[in-house]
Amino acid sequence: MKKQLFQLDRRTFMAGLATSVALPGAIGLSAGSAFAEAQTPKRGGTLTTVAWPGTTYMNAAITTSGPESFLSPKFFDGLLGYDFGMVEKPALATEWSIAEDGKRVTFKLRPGVKWHDGEAFTSKDVAFTFMEVLKVHHGRGRSLFADLQAVETPDDLTAVFVLGKPAPAMLKALDGRESPILPAHIYAGTNIMENPANTKPIGTGAFRLASYERGASVVMERNPDYWDEGKPYLDRIILQYIPDASTRTAMLEAGQADIVFLNFLPALDTLRLAAMPDFELVEAGYETSASNQQMDFNLEREIFKDARVRHAIAHAIDRQWIVDNVWHGFGVAGASPLHHDQRAFYTTEGVPQYALDLAKAEALLDEAGHPRGANGVRFELTIDPTPYGDESLTAAEYIREQFRQIGIQLNIRTQDYAVFIKRCWTDRDFDLCLYTAAMGADPTIGVQRFYWSKNFKPGVAFSNGSSYSNPEVDALLEASQVELDPDKRREQFAKFQQIAMTDLPTLPVVHTTRATIGWQKVKDHTVDALGSLGNLANCWIDG
Amino acid sequence: MTPAPAAPLLQVNDLSIRYGKGVPLVEQLNFTVRRGETVGLVGESGCGKSLTALAVMGLLAENLRTSSGSIELEGTNLTALGQNALRGYRGNRMAMIFQEPLTALNPVMTVGAQVVEVLRAHRRMGRAEAERRAIELLEQVRIPDAAERFHDYPHRLSGGMRQRVVIAIAIACNPALLIADEPTTALDVTVQAQILQLLKSLQRDADLGLLLITHDLGVVRQVADRIVVMYAGSVVEEGAVDAVLDNPQHPYTAGLLAARPHGSFSAQGHRLADIRGAVPPPESRPGGCLFEPRCAHAQADCKAARPPRSAAGQDRSVRCYHPVGKPN
């Protein structure tokens, strides 16, 4: 069986090649072969995949948590889709246009689309979803659509977004994962959070819910009336919730699962399987969920008010080592507050970098007035790694050893998720806090929240946890929110990256990359920027 | 009151019992039990009398074995039989009553079931018939309201009643030989008499050979026809009860009677106060007469070799070079 590479566009591939150390599977193939061997999809078959944790709801309009993000796009469509590089493409909307002042966005909707219950999809559904669901109940939607004043519905197939000020980031957040369109006839006038349809989804999507065993499995079946003619190719998708990562590996290896998305296997297992001829590793298709592992300095702590201490710490941590040994190559050493998948804005040009240099680190600490004490210790710190996944804890263990060499005694504190969130963002009882967070389809959505002084909101998780405040940064971020000119926006973010990396309130540790590992027979699961977080309508099984 | 001599029912010849390949615990044992006769087997605790009884029944623990000699029941050598064949004799031609009625019965089975079981093991009997017969047996051992007691579990019965049940089990298949190992020791004095009475009458009615193991010389005098005295794994003296007790020939028997004229061996195995020293454990038994180290009458030849069994009158034997007492 020949390897397929049409999932990777050239730039992703080059980025991967340039930065990741050794990824068997993807590496060594020529990008030129991408479309050469495309096969005709076959209809039918069941795709089995595994994930964890189990889902609470079936739609991602009322929550931003992970399990829903994966499920929702199978049942619900968004207005738009995104090709590699986050290039908009039609979904429920076939055409869209932005007024000159950026304050009106008009969407022409696809005719003939039916909800799973047979009702017709209209602009009323769009207006309802944005104004009454996403603006109210969606974590990111609340800020993203804060300036969305109304959705006008001149006819059934036209929806006009009326904005208080231009919102360039908004257009990157209209897919079925970020902004799924819900049926107004089911939800209007009900308590949306407690509507039974939240676990019995009625969407316009490629798949319908066949059965759901809470905490155990979801079975999706093909929507025969899907608007995208002939799709989806699969008859069924079975999703099993399996808590133990090694069990998930065993299932994939034993053929009891066909494919595993979203790094749900231990990295070493992913690499091991990728080296086997029957399996294929794909690293594309996670652009909307690009995540950074980063470490917040609590700037309310006296010791961190001195930038030299922050710089010293940055010099003590070899981020590439963490990429190699903690993430096992699934990532790039942290170099910017953005993620490299945010290609339009990401840059390292003129952005200060902090190479591993323990001597320099020690010198900076001496300079900052923290000499080594009699026992060789300068001062003591605590780090709180997020309990989500092993990588933060493992990285913290590495950082502890590095700190020991420059005379900082670091204590690791683990706790469960609730305590972690409360400690870092509500009680603000931490020195260093290490976690992985999504950077969003656009920096305004995902990055701004960590650096904007107006987003220093104790009690709000994953807000500006370092309590960083720099008027210049605030101005840049605020300007970029409404800047319609892509070039100007790029400049604004470039400047932002330089300042943020100079002030270093938060140390970007790793720009993580995600991987899909599956049997070769599973084809076309990643055909655009959304990858498995799209609807899998193009996916098919060979044989 | 000596019964007419009959062909031996049980004949134990030169029997030795060993622990593994070690020294014999019981050696060169000889005695007989005749039909319709009660033989009292007496000795201190640890002298091997219970072992002997278990050997006859073929119930020695796995690490014990009969290393020489024979046990003949009605002419059949039991030591030559396999466990399967032996099983046909146990509970059937020979039966045994144990010392502790409180623990001899299975606590989780009704007494009736335990009687029925032995009947069905050896007789072709339907359940109903066996139950009827079991109730008869319970009546025969004089258990009141036998039909109701049939359904009781052992813990509901008193010790005496339980011993009656054990006896009923033993006589269920009309055995020729009944071995009773200290059947009354654990019972109240008043009950003891009743049980002995019962055994005696059953023995008489059924013409049983009864081997009564006891440390109580009083009981022997009361019930037995003949007596076999054991010391340190060996028979030292044998004969008719009255003859032996009135005129002991072996210094050990004499010492016993002198110490406890009415008496009883100590149940707990304490040494007898009036005989110096203690019973030697099997591994340090003397080469000569077993009793020699403690014997007031010991002479040089006693140390040399075990005294042979010598006849000392009609139906009477003693193992001693220098018997005491008046010759018969």
């Binding site: 189990g54 407690e194 809470r214 808590p243 133990d244 969130i421 409360k422 | 509970g91 089975m109």
Partner: protein
């Protein structure tokens, strides 16, 4: 009998009351609550968090919360599980059977296998068979169940490709009746076996000791003296008595098995009570955790009551006093 049952019932109620109060305070000891978790998952404002706290009653003093919880419990209202977006009782009813089947079959199988091994061992006391069984027991006893579970998966599923790894039954199966039952058996074989090993060792060791003890007892000798076949002596007279300590043990083990199920359910992806409790702890789904603790404790109490009755049936000496 009624007096005994009444006594046991009142004890059970008291025990359950202690369980509820104890677990309630344990859960409330936690820093951080459900809303913190929800907020972590979906970017909430402080206002929204406050209003959620009001909605879930988390703004009340702890004692008031306890009172409200207990008065609802009396009506069998276990509250709502935000993690599952469903009433706690619904969630538990979906998961209880998985754990119940897992635990009950483990008790039955480990007792049977353990007893058989124990009896074989006891009857061969001191010889090589006994020695090898005893060593096997020790190793089973000392090896954590999760190690065994992982070995099972690697060998039977990955290497041999013979056994389904995860779940209670094939997902989306249309099978019914016998075919479905067989499907479930295949799915549960490895989890049950992995959960059993430790208890097989325990029962085996106790069974061996108990059998040796019983075989020395007078009534076994009596049975032999009756001329009963050896089979009957062992399996009717000795075994039934030797089982008694094992039955007592089973009562104690049920609760431990439910605990051990956490690991097994985690590894084999079984949606049972143990894993649910584990997740509930970390998602601060207080109602769910309390519900799981309550229902599993209640099940343990009921099973123990049944075991008591069984014990009485096995041992007539235990009077209903």
């Amino acid at each position: 009998m009624p007096r005994y049952v009444l006594r046991r019932l009142s004890q059970a109620v008291l025990v359950m009351l202690l369980v509820v109060i104890g677990s309630f305070f344990l859960v409330k000891m936690a820093p951080g609550d459900l809303v913190d978790v929800l907020a972590g998952n979906s970017d909430m404002t402080a206002d929204q968090m406050a209003s959620l706290r009001v909605r879930y009653g988390l703004d009340q003093p702890v004692l008031v919360q306890l009172f409200i919880y207990m008065s609802r419990l009396v009506m069998l209202d276990f509250g709502y599980s935000p993690l599952n977006a469903a009433p706690v009782l619904d969630v538990i009813m979906g998961r209880w059977p998985v754990t119940a089947i897992l635990v009950v079959s483990s008790v039955v199988i480990s007792m049977t296998v353990g007893t058989v091994l124990g009896v074989i061992s006891a009857r061969n006391a001191g010889n090589p068979i006994d020695l090898s069984i005893s060593i096997l027991m020790l190793v089973l006893y000392a090896t954590p169940s999760f190690v065994i579970a992982i070995c099972f998966i690697l060998f039977f599923s990955v290497f041999l490709g013979a056994m389904p790894i995860a779940g209670f039954a094939t997902v989306g199966t249309q099978a019914t009746g016998f075919a479905y039952a067989w499907d479930v058996v295949k799915h549960l074989a490895m989890p049950v076996a992995a959960l059993c090993t430790f208890y097989v060792a325990i029962y085996g060791r106790i069974g061996r000791a108990s059998m040796l003890e019983v075989l020395k007892l007078d009534y076994v000798r009596t049975a032999r003296a009756k001329g009963l076949p050896e089979r009957r002596v062992i399996y009717v007279h000795a075994l039934r008595n030797a089982l008694l300590p094992l039955v007592t043990m089973a009562g104690l083990q049920v609760s431990a098995l439910v605990g051990g199920a956490v690991l097994i359910e985690t590894i084999f992806g079984l949606p049972g009570m143990g894993r649910t409790a584990f997740d509930a702890v970390f998602e601060r789904d207080t109602n769910l955790l309390l519900g799981v603790l309550f229902i599993s404790s209640l099940s343990v109490v009921v099973v123990n009551f049944v075991i008591d009755l069984l014990y009485m049936a096995l041992d007539p000496r235990v009077e209903l006093a």
